[in-house]
């Protein structure tokens, strides 16, 4: 049986907007990936623990509240701390252009802004994630 790409889609912080995250979950599943959705309002600790426990190949963070500059570095640091720095992290939501260089510098591999198609996201994961 062909091994499927395992993806964790996570909602860090207080933000409750989950339409985008859920649509992506379905699109990735329909594209043949195994998708685990953390549900709303997870802490960085919960997200990292889930990623490790579920042995995922990539983490997708969805955030629209503006708290990404605080929460994303924390997630990256925790992954390093727990020896899981090899799990790539991508993100999407409402993230101002001016914050993107900083986020990429701390280790977010790609950021999908409003208007991104699910096709592009599926394509990126298939091209960039090795299992």
């Amino acid at each position: 049986m062909e091994k499927k790409i395992r993806v964790l889609i996570a909602k860090p912080g207080l933000d409750g907007h989950d339409r985008g995250a859920k649509v992506i979950c379905r699109a990735l599943r329909d594209a043949g990936m195994e998708v685990i959705y953390t549900g709303l309002r997870r802490t960085p600790e919960e997200i990292v623990n889930a990623a490790i426990q579920e042995d995922v190949d990539v983490i997708g963070l969805s955030i629209l509240s503006g708290a990404h500059n605080i929460l994303f570095p924390r997630i990256i640091d925790l992954l390093k701390e727990k020896g899981a720095a090899d799990i790539p992290v991508i993100a999407g939501g409402i993230i101002p252009d001016k914050d993107i260089p900083f986020l990429k510098q701390i280790g977010i591999k790609e950021i999908f802004l409003p208007g991104s198609s699910t096709t592009d996201i599926v394509h990126w994961i298939k091209e960039n994630i090795s299992i």
Binding site: R41, G66, S117
Partner: protein, 577 residues
């Protein structure tokens, strides 16, 4: 007034007033001619280079290429359409509509600290806004204080930071609460923020018997769509009925709920789902209030609604008209309300946030204009127009000014308000209104059969319907079956636009104030009031007076909500997709 309406209803039943004025012979002839025309249309279309694949609304509803009297032959003018201010209110809830009073121009607004937002409110009021609308930051929406670990990075970012009465006093400083009405978008903690508002008004010398406004306070749609829930459904419903009861007795000019479809639509619902789930939520609230022993005509006039104004112009107008008609029937027939005020569906509208695009953001001004026009032509009582920059940030002053001017130009320059319900009588709009009503009734029946809305939510029904619609919509966009200008067609690079920044000094200021409030207040009194609140919750008392007592002592929102969490518990939704 009630008797006059009753007689009219009786008269309407006796005399048929078919809307088309065409007898069956005429209708047969019209239909015959229509079929001939349709062949002409299809032949021409087959040759046309830009033929559309299918005619569907934004919601995916198939519509016809043309509507004729045949399409409205079952509609009776007096029974189904009627007059403005008369049952079933299809054409509007007031006889004069905008001739007596424009819709309230009420821009949803809030960011940073209470001082920042107070300034923005004064700016908007000075520029022609006629009502206030408060956007709270995420920690407040979730019932937690700015000094809670989960608030880190979130302070003042999505709305104004309010932790205690002290913040509320600053928020409304210099704003006379006897002269302006205020809507507050707040759900599980609604009772607390309402209590704070009441306390601020009292300090201004304005009694709660005359303050005017709305609390959103609609928990059902939180589980369905907006997701700012705290407690489980049943205690949440109890708290809401507490506000109905308290409002009816103590705060008679206040709308104690804004039964919302806006968020349901934003989460991905179709127009018909937005309509149906909102009204069925309304039915649920009425049932729970009646179960408490409240009299329908005592609280129903203070129920209000909140709808989305999305892209599809005619579908939205039909939706608003159908909403009024359905609710009037629900209140009169299902619940036996006697006062016409109980039959009126009064609503606020917001143009659709999710329809705005980050690409070429100035295009959003056009989107908002079309949507606002639909809301006005659909008879809204109150309107918020989104700002062009809201896919990036909270509205800048320049962007919110354009949004406000959009409403003013519609009101004063477009001419659409010169006649009431101008699209009444359109074959398309009446047929669409009827179709939407029919679809909504089907959903209402289905949810009734499930055992009501709380049960339907527990079963995951509305959530799944919405998720399916959202996914279908995204697929249509990704496949270019639905064109979004600037996103999957007409793409181009654009200059970055200036956006509102919330800087980290907001966090420092807010935390400093919170520390100060905690130092200055009487901690003993706070503890006592919180303890009284807990006991009242355990004893199933109406909690409003106890919450009011807590806020007056400067108990924090978090302290009050934590106290209630101890009694009510917390809700966690299953992580389905």
């Amino acid at each position: 007034m009630a008797d006059k309406n009753k007689d009219k209803c009786k008269d309407k039943k006796d005399k048929a007033t078919p809307f088309t004025h065409a007898n069956p012979t005429d209708l047969a002839l019209i239909n015959q001619e229509y079929q001939k025309w349709k062949k002409l249309y299809e032949d021409a279309l087959a040759q046309a280079p830009e033929k559309d694949k299918d005619l569907t609304t934004t919601s995916g509803r198939k519509v016809k290429e043309l509507y004729t009297p045949s399409d409205v032959q079952k509609i009776d003018y007096l029974r189904d359409i009627g007059f403005p201010g008369e049952y079933p209110y299809t054409r509007g809830i007031h006889p004069t509509m905008y001739h007596g009073r424009y819709w309230t121009m009420r821009q949803f607004s809030g960011f940073g600290t209470a001082e920042d937002t107070n300034q923005r409110y004064k700016y908007l009021l000075a520029n022609g806004q006629t009502g206030l609308s408060v956007a709270f930051h995420l920690p407040t929406l979730m019932g937690i204080d700015s000094d809670h670990p989960f608030a880190e990075g979130e302070i003042g970012k999505c709305g104004v930071a309010i932790d205690t009465l002290a913040d509320m006093e600053i928020l409304f400083d210099g704003i006379p609460l006897d002269k302006v009405s205020t809507s507050m978008t707040i759900n599980p903690p609604a009772a607390v923020l309402w209590a704070m508002y009441i306390a601020v008004a009292e300090k201004q010398g304005v009694p709660k018997s005359i303050i005017s406004g709305t609390i959103q306070n609609d928990i059902l749609k939180e589980y369905i769509a907006q997701k700012t829930f705290i407690f489980p459904p049943r205690p949440s419903m109890k708290l809401i009925v507490d506000t109905f009861e308290y409002g009816a007795q103590e705060v008679p000019r206040w709308n104690t709920i804004s039964i919302s479809g806006y968020h349901i639509r934003e989460a991905g619902a179709t127009a018909a789902q937005e309509l149906a789930f909102t009204l069925r939520d309304g039915i649920e609230y009425v049932e729970w209030a009646l179960e408490r022993g409240l009299k329908i005509d005592d609280f129903a006039p203070r129920l209000s609604f909140f709808f989305n104004a999305h892209n599809d112009f005619f579908e939205e107008i039909a939706k608003f008209r159908a909403a009024r008609r359905i609710w009037a029937k629900v209140m009169k027939d299902r619940f036996g309300a006697k006062s016409p005020r109980s039959w009126w569906l009064r609503f606020h509208t917001q143009t659709s946030g999710v329809s705005l695009m980050a690409q070429q953001p100035y295009n959003n001004v056009i989107r908002v204009t079309i949507q606002a026009l639909a809301a006005v032509m659909g008879g809204t009582q109150s309107l918020h127009t989104n700002s062009l920059d809201e896919t990036y940030a909270l509205p800048s002053e320049q962007a919110v000014t354009i949004a406000l001017r959009t409403q003013q130009i519609i009101a004063h320059e477009s001419g659409v308000i010169n006649t009431i319900d101008p699209l009444g009588g359109s074959y398309y709009v009446e047929a669409l209104t009827e179709a939407m009503e029919k679809e909504a009734w089907e959903y209402i029946r289905r949810i009734d059969d499930m055992g009501g809305m709380v049960k339907a939510i527990e079963l995951g029904f509305p959530q799944r319907e919405i998720m399916d619609s959202a996914y279908a919509y995204q697929q249509a966009i990704d496949k270019k079956e639905k064109i979004i200008v600037g996103v999957n067609a007409y793409q181009m690079e654009h200059e970055p636009i200036p956006i509102l920044q919330i800087d980290e000094t907001v966090t420092q200021k807010q935390l400093a104030r919170l520390r100060q409030v905690k130092k200055m207040r009487n901690s003993g009194e706070v503890k006592r009031r919180l303890s009284d609140l807990k006991k009242a919750a355990e004893d199933d008392q109406n909690l409003m007076p106890y919450i009011l007592a807590c806020v007056k002592e400067y108990a924090t929102l978090g302290e009050i909500i934590d106290t209630l969490k101890e009694v009510f518990g917390e809700y966690r939704e299953p992580a389905n997709f």
